[in-house]
């Protein structure tokens, strides 16, 4: 698409991930394999380090995702979360906090939307369904990295980013599965 009138708004092609899909897996593996072998080399095998290894592996996996999918707002946000810039004092020491925060974030499972949905489907008032949608959108913002940031304030951009994020997650899962398959 060509540039549009609103200068601040980036116009995204409909399916940007298709452009980068072939190289995603290669980049991902290319980053992750050396990183993991590095970990194995560095760490001395001991029971205490198991948890640390997990965290480091998780970090490397996320980093690989962020680096393999350049050009998306969520990948940018993820990269910044993982690798805080030196000049950005707000994010100093964020990597540790990222891992800690991440666990918390994942452990607090979301509110079960199921009963709310059914109830609202019966209710025909438009404002309530809109509120439900808003609720879901805000929840989605928490799921996607950078969803609460200023880049994705617009709902439309959020949905676009969601598309690329979902497909990259799928690719990542495939890569990880195949990495584990032959070990």
């Amino acid at each position: 698409m060509e540039g549009c009138m609103k200068e601040r708004k980036r116009v995204y092609p409909m399916e940007p991930w298709k452009i980068m899909q072939p190289s995603f897996a290669a980049k991902y593996v290319g980053y992750l394999v050396p990183a993991l072998t590095n970990i194995g080399k560095r760490a001395s095998p001991s029971v205490d380090r198991c948890i640390d290894t997990e965290k480091i592996v998780r970090y490397e996996i996320d980093m690989a995702l962020a680096l393999s999918a350049e050009g998306f707002a969520w990948s940018h946000a993820l990269k910044h979360k993982l690798r805080p810039n030196v000049d950005n004092h707000n994010h100093a020491g964020k990597s540790q906090s990222y891992l800690a925060h991440d666990d918390d974030h994942r452990n607090t499972m979301p509110v079960n939307h199921e009963p709310a949905t059914k109830k609202l489907k019966v209710d025909t008032k438009r404002s309530e369904t809109e509120a439900a949608e808003e609720e879901r959108l805000t929840y989605l913002r928490k799921l996607i990295p950078g969803g609460s940031g200023e880049m994705m304030v617009d709902d439309e951009i959020l949905l676009i980013e969601l598309g690329s994020y979902v497909s990259c997650l799928e690719l990542q899962v495939n890569v990880l599965r195949s990495m584990l398959q032959f070990n």
Partner: protein, 346 residues
């Protein structure tokens, strides 16, 4: 006039700068008020310009903003063709603009000289009767949008342009326009509000629903679900399940990690065959990199990635740089760097 409109528009696209627009807008407005259209050829508010659209996927002809004003000058030019005083007006307008009006006027008059006569009636007819043919519809739309644009001026471009886009899509709806020069002439749907805010809102909602449809294709099992809330629910569930899978796999990988049995060449063939993960029945081989062979290995990897799905594993093994090695014994930092660099395709 309307026959040549698309051609002129396209001609315009290549020529003009946006600066013309701002220059000429003032010019136009002041001069239009002085125009007298003889014979009701065209009402004063229907000055020709094209709408501005941020993205043109709604239209078959791309009408970018820059040429819009030039379009206006040309339009005025050819419309004034039959009228004496207005012909001078054309020159006056051309004089003030820095675009090539004489050439344009010639081009226009050449085309429109014949069409002008017939243009009057047909134009009026077209206004009343929306869809004579697709071309007429397009031109008709252009007239509407032109009106809308002209009335509002620069500051409201996005509003009418967005609403124009929706109008264009709803060509079969009845027009609810009024021939008043001060109003936005917007073609609204039946029974819908016609103010610019709600129209822009509607366009936004349509874009969002478009994105939702795309997401529906992406997330498996969403075809039966209608309604935004349900769809968002499904998307949430899917994203969460993917994230949980990644977490689980990472834990598994961490457990496996000390062994470092990464089957790289098989891995690379597999990454080509995504999304279907296939079992490759081959003996396990390890890549052995050393500085001298970095280039070779890199090209081998590149060959892998660029090759189509059916590349066999044996092609890897032909290369002399592959050999079985102990997993961790021969890795050192240099080799790791090479592997890492080789894996980076930019």
């Amino acid at each position: 006039m309307n026959r040549a409109l698309p051609e002129m528009l396209q001609w315009q696209q290549q020529q003009q700068q946006q600066s013309y627009f701002s220059e000429l807008s003032g010019v136009f407005r002041s001069q239009i008020s002085h125009l007298c259209f003889d014979g009701g050829f065209m009402s004063s508010d229907s000055v020709v310009t094209r709408e501005v659209k941020p993205d043109n996927n709604g239209l078959e002809t791309a009408w970018p903003e820059p040429g819009k004003l030039e379009m206006g000058s040309l339009g005025l030019g050819f419309e004034f063709e039959p009228c004496g005083p207005s012909y001078n007006m054309n020159y006056a307008i051309s004089g003030t603009s820095s675009c090539p009006p004489p050439a344009a006027a010639e081009l226009v008059t050449g085309k429109m000289g014949s069409a002008v006569g017939t243009g009057n009636e047909s134009f009026k007819k077209r206004k009343a009767d929306k869809l004579q043919n697709s071309k007429a519809a397009v031109e008709d739309d252009s007239m509407k949008k032109i009106k809308a644009y002209e009335e509002d001026g620069e500051s409201k471009i996005t509003g009418p342009s967005n609403s124009n886009k929706s109008k264009h899509k709803k060509e079969n709806s009845k027009a609810s326009e009024v021939q008043k020069p001060d109003y936005i002439h917007v073609r609204a749907r039946r029974g819908q509000a016609t103010d610019s805010h709600s129209l822009a809102e509607r366009v936004r909602r349509e874009k969002i629903s478009e994105r939702m449809k795309y997401l529906q294709d992406l997330v498996p099992g969403c075809n039966k679900i209608t309604g935004k809330a349900g769809m968002l629910d499904e998307i949430i569930n899917y994203v969460q399940s993917l994230q949980r899978q990644v977490e689980f796999l990472s834990m598994k990988l961490a457990a496996v990690n000390p062994r470092l049995d990464f089957n790289i060449d098989n891995l690379f063939t597999k990454v080509e065959e995504f999304p279907a993960v296939q079992v490759v029945a081959n003996p396990i081989h390890y890549l052995h990199f050393n500085p001298a062979q970095e280039v070779v290995s890199e090209t081998a990897l590149r060959r892998t990635i660029s090759a189509p799905v059916t590349i066999p594993d044996t092609s890897f093994l032909d290369s002399s740089c592959f050999a079985q090695i102990q997993p961790s014994a021969t890795w050192d930092d240099v080799e790791l760097q090479n592997l890492y660099n080789a894996g980076r395709f930019h």
